[in-house]
């Protein structure tokens, strides 16, 4: 937003001075106010000095803006040494005239005050340092030391006001640090003078785990993030994690990736998970969550994809050994560089540190699949709310990168299985539930798909079995005897098989019966036909005999008539025609 403002109304909008610090420029909308002083305050050891120094170093190295560092507390040699351990070579920068380190020593015991004075000497020194390299950035760390050096607070306060005016006049972007006070932001009320931008750093220890947080208290003339943003300091310096900087505008892929278990793919609409989606597997201890993750990884590595495995419970070697027992060789993928393990104890450092190390690992390894095993262990490191916030940022980050996230979550037996301890189900696209089904003296694993956004999925429970050749899913027995798994299912199946066999035999027997009856009847029919034929024969013979007899009789009568010279019989006309017609039809 600030960037577009810059372009549209360049004259009116406040110019910003980019810090180059990861995340800080995002929450300030582009950096610190250009040409104005910014106050960085916080308790001891909260990272004030580092923030200011990094601001200068990045300014000098990345933005071509030389800087002056005025230290009231640490000598230049000490500073150089401290920052060398963070990988910043202050000496080289000083030689290149990119940074001037100036140590201002104040020793009350050496100074006696008599009458009126001002701090023109300090102004001259700062001004001289700025002019010597044409500095654009100035850091004063911490100007409060002046309060211990001079007793006349009236003069000091007037001079401080003048100092900030002087810095503005010089046109430098200044960062002033201040120690946190009991009731105010700074012990000496520096916020009164530096009114343009105030950044508050906080270092809170909760359950023995420290988390650093940052808040922009005010930023005159600019919108800014108002939340407390966690940040951390590591070997690469400062990084802030803005929660709000990650939005919900990631692209959604419709590509599918196999889960590595064929029948599970079938359950998930025949194809498996969506690429870039988040998958959660919950279950009680020993339900095979990690094995499911291993399958997923194995399948991905076979396709030549890169996988990153964050393990919070087991060591790398332990996972490899355990997965070998179900016939998955993860070591080959590690050797090929397709799979990388990051193992750490959740309590090793705070959640934010975890998040940032995960971010860094992901940025460095560029995987397409990330496994977090298990997320529930992170609760040990922080409160539930923090874990949820951290995971939501992690998953958003992964989604933005199009990386498929596979998380396992251990649920306790007592609580409801559908309630994850961390309550992150809403973040997940696909949620698989592994459940222990007890019965017939065994514990067997059942797998359900609780939800799977955007795809048709099976509503059936499957038995999830871990064999030497990997995990397989089998139908469970659901019938009058209830849901049966394991040996119970096998027994039931055997019983059913027996019953079926018996039924089949019965059917066969009946069919044979039919055949037999049919044969009998056919034989009877044959016999009847034979006797019928015999009778028919007799009858026909009798008929023929009768006919012959009749003929003989008629011939005899005709010859008798001839002999008596009787009339010739006339054939009847009409009758013959009728008959002819019938024939024609």
């Amino acid at each position: 937003m600030a960037k577009t403002n810059k372009h549209v109304k360049q004259l009116e909008a406040l110019q910003k001075c980019p810090t180059g610090i990861k995340g800080l420029d995002e929450i300030t909308g582009g950096g610190l106010p250009q040409g104005r002083p910014t106050l960085v305050c916080g308790g001891t050891g909260c990272g004030k000095t580092l923030l200011t120094m990094e601001f200068l170093i990045r300014g000098a190295t990345e933005f071509g803006e030389p800087g002056v560092y005025i230290s009231f507390e640490e000598k230049t040699e000490e500073l150089t040494k401290n920052f060398a351990s963070l990988g910043f070579d202050l000496n080289a920068l000083a030689v290149d005239k990119k940074i001037v380190l100036n140590y201002i020593h104040i020793d009350r015991s050496e100074i006696e005050e008599t009458g009126e004075y001002d701090l023109e000497g300090l102004f001259i020194r700062i001004g001289h340092a700025i002019d010597s390299i044409g500095a654009k950035r100035v850091a004063l760390d911490t100007v409060e030391a002046l309060f211990s050096g001079f007793s006349n607070e009236v003069i000091l306060r007037a001079e401080l006001r003048r100092l900030f005016g002087f810095l503005k006049l010089k046109g430098v972007t200044a960062v002033i640090t201040g120690e946190q006070g009991e009731k105010s932001l700074t012990r000496f009320g520096l916020e009164e003078y530096v009114a343009d931008c105030v950044i508050f750093l906080n270092h809170k220890v909760d359950q023995q785990i420290a988390t650093r947080r940052m808040r922009i208290v005010k930023y005159r003339g600019s919108a800014h993030g108002t939340n407390e943003y966690p940040f951390l300091i590591d070997e690469q310096g400062f990084s802030v994690m803005p929660i709000s900087s990650i939005g919900l505008d990631h692209a959604a892929s419709s590509e599918r990736v196999s889960s590595g278990i064929p029948r599970l793919d079938t359950m998930l609409g025949e194809k498996g998970y969506f690429r870039g989606s988040s998958i959660l597997v919950t279950g009680t201890a020993g339900t095979g969550k990690s094995s499911m993750a291993a399958h997923f990884i194995d399948a991905a590595c076979r396709r030549g994809e890169r996988c990153l495995y964050f393990a919070f419970e087991e060591s790398r070697n332990q996972i490899i050994r355990n997965m070998r027992s179900i016939g998955i060789d993860l070591e080959q993928w590690v050797n090929k560089g397709l799979l990388e393990f990051r193992n750490s104890r959740p309590s090793l450092y705070g959640l934010e540190m975890h998040l940032v190390t995960m971010h860094k690992a992901i940025e460095a390894f560029k995987p397409t699949i990330v496994v977090v095993d298990p997320i529930s262990n992170l609760v040990a490191a922080a409160s539930e709310m923090e874990v949820k916030s951290m995971l939501s940022r992690l998953i958003d980050f992964l989604k933005m990168k199009g990386i498929t996230a596979f998380c396992t979550d251990l649920t306790s037996v007592v609580s409801s299985l559908e309630r994850t301890d961390i309550g992150i189900s809403s973040l997940m696209d696909t949620w698989l539930l592994l459940q222990v089904i007890e019965g017939s003296g065994e514990r067997n694993r059942g797998l359900y798909i609780l939800k799977s956004r955007g795809m048709e999925h099976s509503n059936q429970v499957r038995e999830y079995r871990l064999t030497d050749n990997g995990a397989i899913l089998q139908d469970v027995y659901v019938g009058s005897g209830g849901v049966l798994t394991g040996a119970g299912r096998v027994a039931q199946e055997a019983k059913e098989k027996g019953e079926t066999l018996e039924r089949n035999q019965e059917i066969e027997r009946k069919q044979r019966d039919i055949e037999r009856r049919k044969a009998v009847i056919e034989a009877q029919i044959e016999a009847l036909r034979t006797s019928f034929e015999a009778e028919k024969d007799d009858l026909e013979r009798a008929i023929a005999r009768e006919k012959l007899h009749q003929q003989v009789l008629s011939e005899e009568s005709q010859s008798m008539a001839r002999s008596r010279k009787a009339d010739k019989q006339q054939p009847q006309k009409g009758k013959a025609i009728k008959t002819g017609k019938k024939v024609g039809k």
């Binding site: 100036n102 201002i104 020593h105 104040i106 050496e110 100074i111 006696e112 005050e113 008599t114 009458g115 009126e116 004075y117 001002d118 701090l119 023109e120 000497g121 300090l122 001259i124 020194r125 001004g127 001289h128 002046l146 050096g149 001079f150």
Partner: protein, 106 residues
């Protein structure tokens, strides 16, 4: 100021006595007052045993680092050692004398 320079003057400590340096930034009223006050005090209490050097930081800003000057005007007692600093217009003669160890605390 280098250590070498200090050593050289050490042997001459007794002859020169008080080597004083007054830092100012331009001819401000405070600076003028301070110089006048200093001159008067020295002439009254350190007759002939002192030297005053005035450094104008507007002319030579780089000299401010050596003596760690913050306040103006600042009077630095280079000799005798240890180095002492008095800031302000030196209007309180008593405090100047105590600060310069010319007169012990009453």
């Amino acid at each position: 100021m280098t250590a070498g320079a200090k050593k050289k003057t050490k042997s001459e400590n007794l002859e020169i006595g008080w080597q004083l340096r007054l830092y100012v930034a331009g001819q401000t009223p405070k600076s003028l007052t301070a110089f006048a006050n200093l001159k008067r005090i020295c002439e009254e209490h350190l007759e002939g045993k002192f030297s005053i050097e005035v450094v104008d930081l507007l002319v030579n800003p780089q000299l401010a680092d050596g003596d760690q000057i913050l306040a103006i005007p600042t009077l630095v007692r280079k000799l005798p050692e240890p180095i002492k600093k008095i800031i302000g217009d030196l209007s309180n003669t008593e405090r100047v004398l105590v600060g310069l160890d010319i007169k012990p605390l009453a």
